[in-house]
Symmetry: D2
Subunit: 325 residues, 4 copies
């Protein structure tokens, strides 16, 4: 089963499963929680069976969804930062002085892939201050360091090798890795944030640069934060065709014959066929919001704010909005 080829989001892997099967995914527990503007879904993969069905490693995947983010309302943005911080604190079982290394994955120079580096640029980095300036002692600040390792194509090195090397030298207690993701649903772009305690595992993402950054590989806890910023072109065509068929059926244009033909093709078969016919382009093209520059700017601030208030005991969102941004 290769769902992870088509989505980085556990909620979408689950959707894919449920399209083809009745009931909840075996070995998976799901919790929902909603406020007026924000919906939180916690998907826990608790067994090998669940791992198999979901195509993702065992662990907790929290998705924060807020359609209103599309309107760029700063109130909703602040609420999402607070929810992000709350969920991270719940996942992060670390001492308040534990050293954090925040890793901004992705490519500075490709806007939809620049989420990680942009978050780093808005982060409160404190390790050097706490070491150099005694007055910061007992300031309620946690030691935080950060790196933007770049991508395989520009460094020639596996990102995991760079991070492992830094870990050996700096000895952080845990890692937060931020990355831009690919979604299979156009309406999730820039409105969903996934937090996972399983770290980052090779998947589609935007580039193919991502090597695994997980506790197994690095030996310390790795929290991954991801936001869908692009849709794979093949996926988009696929979804469009499905929507088209449904609509045609409703309008009872087209007959059972027609329906049966495409129904008879299983999803992967159809996806592979589509990918094949558009392959000369699909590798070079992406589907992304027209205002992607502004979107990345907003979402990176939302995430940086969430991280800043979750990592430092005495830092409030007001402080961050006033003195950091």
């Amino acid at each position: 089963m290769d769902n992870n080829i088509r989505t980085d989001l556990a909620v979408e892997a689950r959707e894919l499963y449920k399209e083809g099967n009745a009931g909840e995914v075996p070995g998976v527990e799901v919790e929902d929680e909603s406020s007026l503007n924000v919906k939180v879904t916690r998907v826990k993969i608790i067994s090998q069976e669940g791992q198999q069905a979901m195509g993702k490693p065992m662990g907790t995947y929290i998705t924060i969804e807020a359609d209103k983010l599309r309107d760029r309302d700063m109130d909703v943005e602040d609420e999402v930062s607070r929810v992000l911080a709350k969920e991270m604190v719940a996942l992060l079982k670390v001492d308040k002085d534990a050293l954090a290394l925040v890793v901004g994955l992705g490519n500075w120079n490709v806007t939809p892939d620049a989420l990680g580096p942009r978050v780093i640029s808005k982060l409160m980095v404190t390790k050097h201050l706490l070491e150099l300036k005694p007055e910061y002692k007992d300031s309620g600040l946690r030691p935080v360091c950060a790196i933007t390792p770049g991508v395989l194509g520009t460094t020639g090195m596996e990102t995991s090798d760079i991070i492992e090397g830094i870990i050996e030298k700096i000895k952080p207690d845990f890692i937060i890795a931020i990355d831009a993701l690919a979604s299979r649903r156009m309406n999730r772009i820039s409105t969903s944030i996934q937090i996972a305690d399983t770290g980052i595992n090779p998947g589609s993402g935007i580039g193919n640069y991502r090597s695994a950054l997980s506790q197994d590989v690095l030996g310390i806890p790795v929290i991954a934060i991801g936001v869908p910023t692009v849709v794979d072109a093949g996926t988009m065509a696929n979804d469009t065709i499905d929507m088209l068929i449904e609509t045609l059926m409703k309008q009872s244009k087209g007959d059972t014959q027609f329906y049966s033909v495409l129904k008879s093709m299983d999803r992967d078969e159809k996806y592979n066929l589509i990918t094949e016919v558009i392959s000369p382009y699909v590798g070079k093209l992406m589907v992304t919001p027209k205002d992607i520059d502004a979107v990345i700017d907003d979402v990176s601030r939302i995430i940086a704010n969430g991280i800043n208030i979750s990592l430092h005991e005495n830092v409030t969102l007001e402080d961050v909005n006033r003195y950091v941004n």
Copy 2:
């Protein structure tokens, strides 16, 4: 007939016509010319009938296509600059001292729409030098001025009003307007350049900001230079489905029933249906190359070089590569 809703390129309007009709478009003359790397197509709309069939005003539309531009080979890029210059000189029937106003349309801050402003930033601007410094007299330089008027959403003004105001004051003899276009073929993105003596007329483009910039409106000749940098998402889905059906038929998966259903829908009906089903997203999404930043950088240099050598008698591509870029 609303082809111009879906393409800014005359060669594509022609393709659309020929899909549904046998023979050449009535009232249209076509010339082809090819070298190893570059193909030139000159489409002349010479009658009301042609205008009707093409959904574009009468005039000459020259398309320069070079697939190798995708490989970013500087030899091919230089060749395209030279071809662009040659075709412009043929279209431009102006005195060698005639004052040129070059207009860079589009939005600086949206990468795929930034082609125009980027070209202006690489342009040899000489009007002020020729006026202020006598030593430039007889230097073989033409007086050239340039403006990036911005877009309706950021200026609150119609671009045509801004340009008309400047024309009244500066009195240029002709205008060259550069703009990013939308294509209906994914493989034309960043590999095709269209030059038209009809100026720019309201169409899809990338934004909806464009007001007409034509000789009728402005009273002086207007040469438009455009490059497709995005594909409309609906168009892409449509093309994908067509490719899919063809492939299915070849593989004789699917039966005549299946084929007939979609065949029975006429193109516009199908397009409108698709646009409708993806409408919640299509307005917000674009399909563009993953390396769009690099693409815009290259293409804007190619066009600026072409303009620079076509406007100034004594300026060669070597000069431009060495002293301007």
Copy 3:
């Protein structure tokens, strides 16, 4: 008298006069007003004599100074935006529906000169909305349009010609022009804002691109808003030498001989000498803050916020911080 060669700020022209003369400048009235964080100085040049002594046209020059801006505290930034709005409203004697054209002077691509264009990018532009969307009627929004005309070196056109052309076409009722200035005091950089009802007159500025934008030239009121972002290298050397001499005297290193020699040179003579000895470089060099990118970002937001709340009846700073930035 050519003080305006060395400073764009009326408060500095006044300082220069008072260095050489006792008492207030004749033909000049001055008002001070201070809060904890912000100092406002209103210099009114009310006679030919004052114009002569100050080297600036008759009119009102308001300087807002806030040293704390150096610390990038958002509370102080908001206070400065409010003061800026209050002072502008006092200077602007216009109907609440009068059409505003905001002009962002300077060069996008030279960071210390990019203040004007950056302000425009953060501005609430409403003219097109009020025309196209009836629902905005009686929304308390003023019609505002905006332009970034570029600089002589990149357009080949005098900025005043571009603006005059647009005015003839668009017919705004008044103009607000934003520009980066040169200061003769290093400590004023990025901490002072000058508002003047005399518009913009040829002066040092950062580039030499600036043609006059004033009511005499344009026929409508012109409010100029400027912020010092660079110090002229010659000026800085000059100030340093003066500080050095003072210090030497205090430390009674150096004798009256020494002092008298430099004292005997009048200020302009000394300045010209310095400019001469460093002339091979002074033209190419600027003195600017190391964090100029961040400074321009902050100051442009402060000014855009001030303009946004001063122009639109029903817009508060909270609205702007939440929904515009």
Copy 4:
């Protein structure tokens, strides 16, 4: 002796010594070589005495100077790239398959400090290709990887720690480190390149972020490439005053008294005094070219080209200009 506080360039440390002393610096050997456009000076510090006098570690410091770089002539730029490559090959005594790690020091977001990261963005990175694609075997390409580690203020980590960690993991055979430097001569900015086999040692630089990157620390050869992009404000004032005095003496304005006073102050005393009087600002200000963005763009290409052709056996400058940039 603290010359290295005021200059990163060995040629300037030598000038400083010779101002106060007759003859060549003891323990230092100097070679000159000039072409029409490019001057090469090789300063070899060969003894403890030389190290003492120069305030720099023993080793070879090669300075390439080309005033014409100010005119941005691509012919001269290419010549400088070739000279840079030739000098590097002479310093680099490594096997043709030895793995290179290129380190781009400095801060992406502060233009005059962005030289290192910009060079990396133009570099031919090959390590991953040589490992993944057998067809590159025997292509005459050397394995090259690259990193932009950021600065202490944004990472919270010492740059040397990051690099040491990566070295332990990746095991490169040698390092090339690129950094922006501070010069004490305004006319050297962007026209001089220094190559040193002593690596990078704590010094003024632009920021204070730099920890030592040398063979002693890292255990492998480290070639440092630096270009002056700023002048320290105190240095500039100092130079200006010296130029001023000379001029005054020539013009026999001022008497021996005057001269003797400043002559009687030794250089460091005067410098410290100046730094003190302008200290409130000097920390926050830099003196840099007005067209610094364009300068960094050009110089980073010159250096990247030089590195690309020096590291890869079969790569020519023509290849690089055509296929890399």
